[in-house]
Structure formats: structure tokens, C-alpha cells
């Protein structure tokens, strides 16, 4: 199992971002490197890639606020 973490180097301060969209459904099969979500901070959109191949588990829904370093989902072993 791999956690999907919002990287800690996306923006410069400790302000919050928001998950603007998940690009796969919970339970979908995804490949390592697939862009699974977009997170927005100050009108800039950042891609979040799957850290591994497997089954996507979404833990933090669209429109939720997130901090850098937060886990927003998991990739379960296929």
C-alpha cells in the first residue's frame, strides 16, 4: 500500500490548497505516474501522480482543503 501525499514543495508558504478534482473513481485501477488528482493553491493547479500501480482509494474528497504533506488517498495492491 502506498499513500498519495501532497508534495511538500508545491508552494512556498504554509497556506492551504484545495483538491479541485479527482481524475479517477475510487476503486479504479491506476498505473504509477498517472495523474490522479489536481490540487489548487492561489489559482495555480498542481498535478498529483499515483506513486504506484494498483487500486485507487480516495480518502479526501473533492473540494476539501489540504496542507502540503497531507495523505489524500492510497494505492492498494492490485
Amino acid at each position: 500500500m502506498s499513500e498519495i501525499i501532497v508534495p511538500t514543495d508545491l508552494w512556498d508558504d504554509d497556506s492551504l490548497g484545495v483538491i479541485s478534482t479527482w481524475l479517477f473513481e475510487d476503486g479504479d485501477a491506476v498505473s504509477q505516474g498517472d495523474i490522479v488528482a489536481e490540487v489548487m493553491n492561489e489559482k495555480i493547479s498542481f498535478d498529483i501522480a499515483a506513486p504506484a500501480s494498483g487500486t485507487l482509494a480516495i480518502d479526501v474528497p473533492t473540494e476539501s482543503e489540504v496542507s502540503q504533506g497531507d495523505a489524500i488517498g492510497r494505492i492498494l495492491s492490485a
Binding site: T21, E25, S31, Q32, D34, M40, S53
Partner: protein
Amino acid sequence: MADKTVTSTRKLTIAKSMAEAISQEMGRDESVLVMGEDIAKLGGVFGNTGGLLDAYGPERVRDTPISETGFIGAAVGMAAAGMRPIVELMFVDFFGVCMDAIYNLAAKQSYFSGGRVACPMVLMTSVGGGYGDAGQHSQCLYATFAHLPGMKVVIPSNAYDAKGLMLAAIRDPNPVIFMYHKALQGMGWLGTVPGSIVPVPQEDYEVPIGAARVVREGSDVSLVGLGATLHHCLDAAASADNDGISAEVIDLRTIAPLDRATVIASARKTGRLIAVDDDYMTCGVAGEVIASVCESGTKLKAPPIRIAHPDIPIPFSPAMEHFVLPNQDKVKAAIKSVMEAAR
């Protein structure tokens, strides 16, 4: 590289699907280039040109000075010389300074040259309000462009259509105005409409320009929308279903040339017609849809209804703006009205 065997459910925002279409066509056809304000380094203020500069470099992906008159005029010349420029008018509201290049030059190039000089350019431009950006950054102006002959005008309601329409637009020998609605771009700060973020194939495909699509079949009333209002229609149709009313929903997808046949066929079937348009009402697309059905001789069971923005500048105050914009509740009220009129 990642295993790419399981991406069939990959969804994209309209922003990303536009960028993917442009990137794929730039890879296939080296005459395609992109110009506009903040389209290169920033990737477009609405996210629709992301990654292009890195992939194709500054010769083919050009940030321009803030002079729409200059770079859109240049695009018309480039198209005459055999290139396929894609230019961005960041907000359609800014058309005033560059309209001569658009409607007097681009739109007429083929006609004035007896068909010898085509104008294969795409002008992409953001439309629509709903996020408090006031009267000079929130307009749609569908009818303003659709009224002028010599150009095609399209607007996708979802990411699948956006990619297919963009590929068709770039390959079209005529100037195509590619409008995209800010509320549907999938940019969080503009609001997100989940129905616009749909699975998009990796491969090359076109959505034909000039073809509307019946996105939901029904038998009691025809709802005709485009861009953002298509989603108001779908929401209202789902709600009507709970009341035992079967609503058919049509996505125009192309504003010019208008697919009158699809709308007329639907109205002939249901006998009731509601057209929903977030541009100004008078002389607008909704009125054109209704006129087309009336001219066809289709007998309606109730007077048709158009829902559009009233003929005033779009207000800044969110309370006032949302009062005048079309929404799901206004469509629901119109459905109730045409169903009761039929009794």
C-alpha cells in the same frame, strides 16, 4: 515508464483535454503553433496550454505582448501563408480591439480570394460568468460571433467533446472560434462542474463541427443547452424525472453552423421546447433555436420558452449576478410552465 494498460477510465478536465489535443496535433503537424497572453510559460490562465512550451519550444509556443490587435492580426497572415495558428483571446470580452482581424479579415479571406486563400486558424477564448468578475470578464457573446458569416463557432460542455472539437477545429480550413466556459474548465477557483470532467481517450478522434448531440433521451419536453447551461438542463431533467416528467436534453456543441435538424427532430417528438443560453437574450442563440423550430412548422403543445441573461451588463455583486444568470431552478420552473400549459 508506467504501465499504460489500465487508463481506460482516465478522466480529464476541459483545460487538460484542450492542451492534450493541441499537443497531439502539434506533434502530428508542424505547421501548428500557439500564440497568446500567458499561454507559454504559465500554461494559460485557464490551464488549457499547459506543457506545450516544454514540449515544442518558444518558436511554436509564443507568449505575446498585450496586443490582441497585433497577434490576432498576425495569425490571419500566418494562416494565409500556410501555417495553422491557434491564438487565444484570453476573455471573449476583449474582442473589441481585434474584431477587424476576426470578422473582416479571417472570416472573409476565403470568400474574397475566390477560395484560393484559406484561413485555417483557431481562436480560443474563455466565456461565461458566475464567479464575480463583473461585466467586462463574464460575457458569453455567442450570438455576436455566430451572427457573422465565414466563421465556425463551437463550445464544449465536457472534456471528451473539448478534445474532439479542438482536433476538428485545428484541421478545419476555416477560422474556428473555440469558446470554452470558465465554469467548466476544472479550475477550482472558478467553480467545478463534475459533469464536465469525463473519461477522454488518449488516441486521436474528432467530434464533428456542426453536430449537436442528444445527451439524454426523453418524451415530454426538449431542453436545449450549450456549455454551462447544458449542465443546468441535465440537473433539471434529473429533477423532473422524479416528478414523472421525461425531459430530453440536447447539447448544441456548435453554435455556427447551428444543427437545426437535431433540435427540430426533438421538438417534433416531445412537442415542448425550452432553450437555455447564458448570453444576452435579445437576438441570441436561444431565440434562434426557437425560431428554427417554429419555422419548421413543428406543432408545439405549449409556447416555447427561452431562458437567457437579461439585456443588461452582467452585475458584479454575487447576489445580483446569480439572480440574473440561468440556473437549474429556472429550467425547472420553465418545465413546470410548459407542462401545465399543455393541460
